[in-house]
């Protein structure tokens, strides 16, 4: 096993324990036990349970954003870029269902600060979709909130699957998630066509 820092062990513990018990029932004692560190060590790194959980969320959000961004850049045409980015997102979440739960379900249960952090993290996805305004005919005339609607539609679809315990099957959702992302820009017929290509 690769030696991990105590901080990293605590972040991993937050992911595992919250996935198993839910945020509300998780205690600092659970986290120190799971990570194999002392209470003193915990408080050297984090003010409280919430701070540890938020740090775990930030780490997960950064990793996901990097993977989506990297995949997005592998393609040229906007619909292909979106397809690649979403495929990376769904595969990441399917590969790490506990991270998926933390990043999309449990984060909402951890109070106001966590909820603001969650919304801010989701906003990082909007530039990917905003490119559709230049790609689509008439795209400039769409509401300014269009990319935020797409983020809502995508997270709605994905969270449903995760909450139902089907995170492992998320990659099968790609056609629907892609349709949801393209349809405000291209309309149902063209979006369905773009989904069907390849």
């Amino acid at each position: 096993m690769v030696a991990r820092s105590q901080r990293e062990r605590l972040l991993d513990a937050a992911v595992d324990v919250v996935a198993a018990k839910g945020y509300g029932a998780t205690t600092v004692a659970d986290l120190t036990k799971e990570a194999g560190v002392s209470r003193t060590t915990f408080y050297e790194h984090f003010k409280d349970k919430e701070a540890c959980f938020l740090a775990a969320f930030d780490t997960a959000a950064d990793v996901l954003a990097r993977r989506i961004g990297a995949a997005f850049e592998t393609e040229e045409a906007w619909p292909d870029r979106v397809r690649a980015g979403l495929a990376a997102l769904l595969e990441s979440l399917a590969g790490e269902p506990q991270i998926a739960r933390l990043a999309l379900v449990d984060i909402g249960s951890a109070g106001p600060q966590a909820q603001r952090r969650y919304r801010a993290a989701l906003q990082r996805m909007t530039p990917f979709f905003d490119e559709g305004r230049d790609f689509a005919p008439g795209g400039r005339r769409l509401p300014a909130n269009t990319s935020r609607m797409v983020v809502g539609a995508v997270t709605g679809l994905v969270s449903d699957e995760i909450e139902a315990g089907r995170a492992d099957r998320l990659p099968e959702m790609l056609p629907e998630v892609l349709f949801a992302s393209l349809v405000p820009y291209l309309g149902p017929a063209a979006a369905a066509n773009a989904v069907g290509e390849r």
Partner: protein
């Protein structure tokens, strides 16, 4: 249950919705709810096991109230488009008039645990069914994706959630054109949804 007992139970449920919307679920205590409702501790525990139990019942009541109002406003509206427009406007109207209810319904429910979240999902699913009628009217060939209504409700609830978390509940009615666009666009595409948006702007 006698009429008086039932009334007391109802005022506890109403109080729970308001206090949670104001203070947040975590910070809400049974004492807060009793004080808001003007009842005794004994009365509270006669009806509910604890805060969580009371919250779940309060949430059920809230959902029924919102749906009853929406159905009363737009049941029978034809075609599908005007039914959706009216239903959405009714929901936004309720949220804007009762900001505490809105926060409890959309934001705080996520904090109250897995059972509460399930109830929230069930409520969203009822909106989804409401939208499903559009499939028959607009898509007789059955070409729209299976989860199209989930996309529409996801887009709408994302926008609403952001406004509530940012404390801009009073701003919700001005978001109505965008919310309508979000709800309609997977079904009818951007050109027609933009047209519907314009009609709402002109009407207000």
């Amino acid at each position: 249950m006698s009429a008086i007992t039932e009334t007391r139970r109802d005022s506890l449920l109403e109080a729970m919705v308001r206090v949670v919307g104001r203070k947040g679920y975590q910070a809400t205590s049974v004492a807060d709810v009793i004080e808001e409702a003007g009842t005794s501790r004994t009365t509270f525990y006669k009806h509910f096991d604890d805060k969580h139990d009371c919250f779940l019942s309060a949430y059920d009541m809230l959902v029924e109230r919102v749906f009853d109002t929406i159905v009363a406003e737009c049941d029978g509206e034809q075609p599908w488009l005007s039914r959706v427009r009216k239903g959405l406007a009714t929901l936004i109207g309720i949220f804007a008039r009762e900001p505490e209810l809105a926060r409890t319904a959309v934001v705080e429910v996520a904090v109250a645990g897995a059972e509460a979240r399930q109830r929230h999902w069930d409520a969203v699913a009822r909106f989804t069914e409401f939208l499903e009628d559009g499939r028959e009217e607009l898509d007789p060939g059955g070409e729209l994706p299976k989860h199209i209504s989930v996309m529409a409700t996801g887009a709408v609830s994302g926008l609403i959630f952001d406004e509530l978390v940012a404390g801009r509940t009073a701003n919700l009615p001005s978001l109505m054109p965008d919310l309508l666009f979000a709800m309609l666009v997977p079904f009818i595409g951007p050109a027609a949804a933009t047209e519907e948006m314009r009609r709402v702007v002109q009407a207000t």
